[in-house]
Symmetry: C2
C-alpha cells in the first residue's frame, strides 16, 4: 500500500498544509488563514477539513493518510501533543492538538516545534540530506535552532534543547530579549543586525544608511546588506559583527555535537553569498588548528515549504522507527 | 548465565583494569605499569595477561567474560577500534587495539576516548545515574567533555564531538593551546586558573599567593583555592573568573543539548563546595529568565575509578543494545 503523509505548519497568521508521498515528494499543498481568535476548536476543525479537501483533491480519502506531522512555536509539551500556550494564538492554552487532530483524521499525529520541524525537513530532503549530523539556524526576528545528532533530533530533558540563539558568546555583552546578556541572537539575528546599525547611526556614524533611516524611520537587515554590496563602511562593520558572531557559534557547535553540515535558514539568508562567505571567513580565521575541519556551512534549500515538508518527514520518520 | 565485564583505562603511565558484574559492581581490579616504550604488542599482551589473572582471581575463566570496554586518549578511530597515535605512547601508531585484544581474550571489545568513557561511567552508575541527558566536564590540565543525549553518547560526524573545553566564550580572548582564542579551557582549567593567577602576581597584584610563587617558583589551582578559603582577594578574583567561565559554558550547554545534570570531574573538583557554589551562583546570575531552569550542577562521584567503570559500562551498554 502506498504511503501518504500530511505536513502542517501552524503560524499565527496562516496554516500551511501539504500532502506528500513516501519519498516526501509533494502531492499538493494549500494555505489557510489561521483565524486564531476563533479558538482552538474551530481552528483545528478548519485544519482537519482542509486536510480532507486536499486528500480528495489528490483522489484519496482520509483512510489513505499514513501519518500526520505538525509544527508550532512553543512552549508546548511536544511528546504529549499539547500546546501549553502561544504568543500568536492567545486562546490556545493546554490544547491537546494531536489528540484532537487524530480524532478528526483517524491517522496518528506527531508534533514538534517549528524550528525542529524545519531542521528535520532540511535534514531529510534539503541542505542536510545525506549526512547524519547537522546543526540548523534560522536567522529572523530571533535566532532559532535545531540539532540532528546521529540521525535523530536532539530534544533535551525538557524538550527545550537547541535554543541556539541563546548561547552566550559575549559575556556581559548586549542585553537579549530573553534576559541574558551576550546571546548570539542579540548580535546576529536580522533584527539585532538592524538594531546595531541603527544604534551606530544614532551615535553619529557616517553611512549611506543614514538617509534610509531618516526617510523610512527604520532600517532592516535587508537595507544593510544592500548598502554593504554598494560598499558602505558601516554596513561592512555591522555585517562583519553578524558573521563573526555566527562563526563563533558554528565553532562552538562543532565542538559540541560535531555536525557534518551547518545549515542557515530564515529571512536573512536572502543576503546570499556575501553573508555565507563572511561566516565561512570568520570560521576559518577563528577555528583551532589541531585538525583540519571539513564541516560544510551552507544555506537551507527548502524555503517557505520547510515547515510542511519537515512535518511530513517527521511523521514518516516516526512511522519508520515504529513510534506510531 | 551471569555476566562479567572488563573495563580497561589506558594511560601513558598506568593501565587500570577492573572486573565487574552485570550490575557493574566491582569484582576486583588492579593497575599495571603501561611500559609504553615497549610498543603495542607487548603492552597489549600485558593487558591481556593481567585480565586473565584477574579473571582467575575471581574464580572465572576467559570464557566467562561477556564483553570488554577500553578507554584511551585520542586521536583514534574509535568505531573501528584503532589508536591512530598517542602523545603519551609514541610507539602506538595505527594500532588495531580492539582486534588485538579480542584475539587474545575471545570476548568482544568496545572502545572510546577517555573523557567519553568517564562520562558514561558517571551516567551509568555515578553522578548522572537516573537521567537520560547529562553533560560532563573534566577540569584538569585542560578541560575535557562528554555528552549523553537521550541515553546515548554524542560522538559527532568524525568522533570528535564534546570537545567542550574549546567552546569559545570570550572571542579574541586568551590564547588556548589549541590555537583558538577565548576557549573556556584558556580560563577555567586547573592549569589556566593557575596561569591567570601567576600572570596577575607577575603584573604586581597583591596577594598572599605571592609568597607561594616566590618560594615554590610556581602556584597551582590547589594553592589558589587554599588561599581563597583564607580570604585572599586575588584568589577570589581568579576563582570567580574560573567559575564564571564554567557557568557560561553550562548555560550554553543547557541551550544546546539541554542536560538534566551537568557533572564536573577532574583534579580541580577537590576544591569542593567553594567551587561548586561559585559555578551555581554565576549560573543563576547569567541564565535567562524565560523559564525556570532546574538543571543540577554537581560533582562526579566515581573518582579515579571512572575510567574502568565507564569502560565496563560501555561494554554492557553495547551488549544490551545488541551492538556486540
Amino acid at each position: 500500500m502506498s504511503e501518504t503523509y500530511v505536513g502542517i505548519d501552524v503560524g499565527g497568521t496562516n496554516v500551511k498544509i501539504g500532502l506528500f508521498d513516501s519519498e516526501l515528494e509533494q502531492i499538493c499543498k494549500t494555505s489557510i488563514t489561521t483565524n486564531a481568535d476563533m479558538g482552538p476548536d474551530i481552528v483545528i476543525d478548519n485544519m482537519a477539513k482542509t486536510v480532507e479537501k486536499l486528500v480528495a483533491q489528490a483522489g484519496l480519502s482520509l483512510e489513505n493518510i499514513t501519518a500526520v506531522g505538525i509544527g508550532t512555536p512553543g512552549p508546548a509539551k511536544y511528546s504529549e501533543g499539547i500546546i501549553i500556550k502561544s504568543t500568536n494564538m492567545p486562546k490556545f492554552k493546554n490544547v491537546p492538538i494531536c489528540k484532537m487532530l487524530n480524532e478528526k483524521l483517524g491517522a496518528p499525529v506527531v508534533f514538534d516545534n517549528d524550528a525542529n520541524v524545519a531542521c528535520w525537513g532540511e535534514y531529510a530532503v534539503g541542505a542536510g540530506k545525506g549526512v547524519k549530523d547537522i546543526v540548523f539556524f534560522t536567522l529572523g526576528t530571533g535566532i532559532g535552532g535545531g540539532i540532528v545528532s546521529n540521525g535523530e533530533l536532539v530534544h533535551g530533558c525538557d524538550e527545550n534543547a537547541a535554543e541556539l540563539g541563546h548561547m552566550i558568546i559575549y559575556p556581559d555583552g548586549r542585553r537579549c530579549n530573553c534576559g541574558q546578556r551576550g546571546c548570539v541572537e542579540a548580535y546576529a539575528s536580522a533584527d539585532s543586525t538592524a538594531r546595531r546599525a541603527t544604534e551606530a547611526l544614532e551615535a553619529g556614524a557616517e553611512s549611506s544608511l543614514k538617509k534610509v533611516l531618516d526617510e523610512k524611520g527604520r532600517i532592516t537587515s535587508k537595507d544593510i546588506y544592500k548598502h554593504l554590496a554598494a560598499g558602505d563602511k558601516l554596513a561592512k562593520e555591522i555585517t562583519d559583527g553578524t558573521a563573526k558572531a555566527l562563526a563563533i557559534t558554528c565553532i562552538n557547535m562543532l565542538h559540541t555535537t560535531e555536525p557534518e553540515r551547518i545549515v542557515f535558514a530564515g529571512g536573512m539568508i536572502a543576503a546570499g553569498d556575501i553573508l555565507l562567505n563572511a561566516i565561512r571567513g570568520f570560521f576559518d580565521e577563528q577555528i583551532w588548528k589541531m585538525k583540519k575541519e571539513s564541516v560544510e556551512i551552507c544555506f537551507a534549500t527548502l524555503g517557505e515549504d520547510a515547515g510542511i515538508i519537515g512535518a511530513a518527514a517527521l511523521a514518516r520518520h516516526a512511522r519508520q522507527q515504529g513510534n506510531l
